[in-house]
Subunit: 317 residues, 2 copies
């Protein structure tokens, strides 16, 4: 294994999830969308409270609150400060955002595992979730019918001496040839809200160039997965379950090309669609609740994100 990739002895001590209460049906498939008056903070708080309960912890036990989300709730302050206001007001728990768009949860888990293992933090609350519905373009049917609003969270702790849990290997790559294949061009500093007009309205909407993304993924992903497995010194047969980002129905096409067959990975795209940063932790949380994942199982979290960013993380749950 590559230097710097010794096992990090951390554990997902508890997870939680929450789904928007509104719903739309496209071609027989339900997509969950915030109902009137509901906000992503409601979902994030609910998921976080459930994660804390599952871990047997209180918010006061947390040493850091990380929002690992793809999109800002406000331009300022960071999302974690706004969630902190809901859950941790009056405490001094540090709040921070980590963002690699759709794979933000894996990146945050990856980065925070180091200070947790080093003893800086004992317990970290990581919360993912996005409101894709805030910026979907009804004219772009492929993306409009794909996304659900949801949130998921975990409590990250150090593993005890007698526990097997840990991160065996992780790797992220970004290929910015794909930086504009998935984007919302407007709303930030480059094209502020003030410049929104009827004629550039689409610049403020989610824009996905599905075919371009698939082509870049097909070119990059097989080699990436192969090199990760090799560096980790792990073969596919040793992996109990793969939890991929639920990017789109193309999951069924891509996963076999990466050497993972139906049943070896979670695919709930038809049930929930793509939940942006919440997809991976939501699917993992649900698999844990349904008994599909047990302590000691060797899991692979992986996914593609706008950027184009890809993440690969092997962990013992």
């Amino acid at each position: 294994m590559k230097e710097g990739q010794k096992i990090r002895r951390v554990k997902l001590a508890g997870m939680g999830r929450a789904l928007a209460e509104g719903a739309l049906v496209f071609d027989g498939q339900t997509r969950y969308r915030l109902r009137q008056g509901e906000t992503l903070l409601d979902l994030a708080q609910l998921a976080a409270e459930r994660a804390l309960a599952a871990a047997g912890k209180e918010i006061q036990d947390m040493d850091c609150i990380v929002c690992a989300m793809a999109t800002p709730l406000q331009a300022i302050p960071c999302n974690a400060a706004l969630l902190h206001e809901r859950m941790a007001r009056g405490t001094g728990i540090p709040a921070m955002d980590i963002n690699t768009t759709c794979t933000s949860f894996i990146s945050a888990l990856d980065m925070l595992s180091y200070p947790v293992e080093a003893g800086r933090y004992d317990n970290v609350l990581i919360v993912s979730g996005d409101t894709a519905s805030a910026a979907l373009n009804p004219l772009q049917e492929e993306s409009y019918s794909l996304f659900s609003d949801g949130a998921a969270a975990c409590v990250l702790t150090r593993a005890e001496a007698q526990e097997d849990s840990g991160i065996l290997y992780s790797c992220q790559k970004t290929w910015s040839e794909g930086a504009h294949d998935t984007e919302i061009r407007g709303g930030g500093g480059l094209l502020p809200a003030f410049f929104l007009r009827e004629e550039n309205r689409e610049d403020y909407c989610f824009d996905m160039k599905g075919v371009r993304i698939l082509r870049l993924c097909a070119r990059k992903l097989p080699g990436f997965v192969e090199s990760c497995l090799k560096e980790a010194g792990v073969c596919r047969e040793e992996i109990s379950l793969v939890i991929p980002h639920q990017a789109s129905k193309a999951l069924k096409v891509i996963m076999p090309r990466l050497g993972f067959q139906e049943g070896e990975y979670i695919d709930r795209v038809s049930e929930y669609g793509n939940m942006v940063s919440a997809s991976v932790p939501y699917a993992l949380c649900q698999a844990v609740e349904e008994g599909k994942v047990k302590r000691g199982d060797r899991l692979l979290l992986m996914g593609t994100a706008a950027g184009l960013t890809v993440n690969f993380m092997l962990l013992v749950f």
Copy 2:
């Protein structure tokens, strides 16, 4: 010293900075603003290239590109992916955003020091910068005349065995009682660009409640600084120079209350104003260039950020 706070043997191998080319003068003080056609990506790239040159490195040597900025350039993808497109297209260097608003640079340095020390990454490029000018409210004079657009960057590496460089101690706290004292309410998922009207235009502008922030800082900061110094086991006399966030002209009032007198800390608010996330690294970079900071000096980076977040980091340069 608290467990988990042993020295992290990392080094700021090189720094760079860049200032917007436009300028406005308020009451005799210059504020730098992006000129027509200039974007924050131009400044970020320039600062990053200068940091690489100062470190004697190429972009290909970097193992991770982190944008530590307060505001998004686009709603999707993350800022680091957009900077990656400018500087690292064709490479697979991972790109990631870390955001605690104004103190994002200190937070990113803090978090990335762990994987660097652990051997996961050898070289990390951290880039800060914001376009406050994109959302300033001309009707709020206090903030309108305060901000400059700028960027600053550093290359973070492991320190060699014979070098003294390292992070001695770091601490972040967030008190979300202040979550709405500094904010831009609109432009994100909670109040999307589509809802901008003439009558709620101010919701999309930077909004700073100066007196409330000062009151919260006065209540929280002295105890925070005292407890950090105590946990670090360092007294003020052992610190060569303090590099505070250049929040406002109130710096002159607050720093003495924290036990730091004029000359012991950098104050260039009258020259540059507040550069949001770029303030701390810009001031540090400039101090290095001017010979005010040398290898082996014991520095304190600190600041307040929207959240309200505060960061404190003691390092041997």
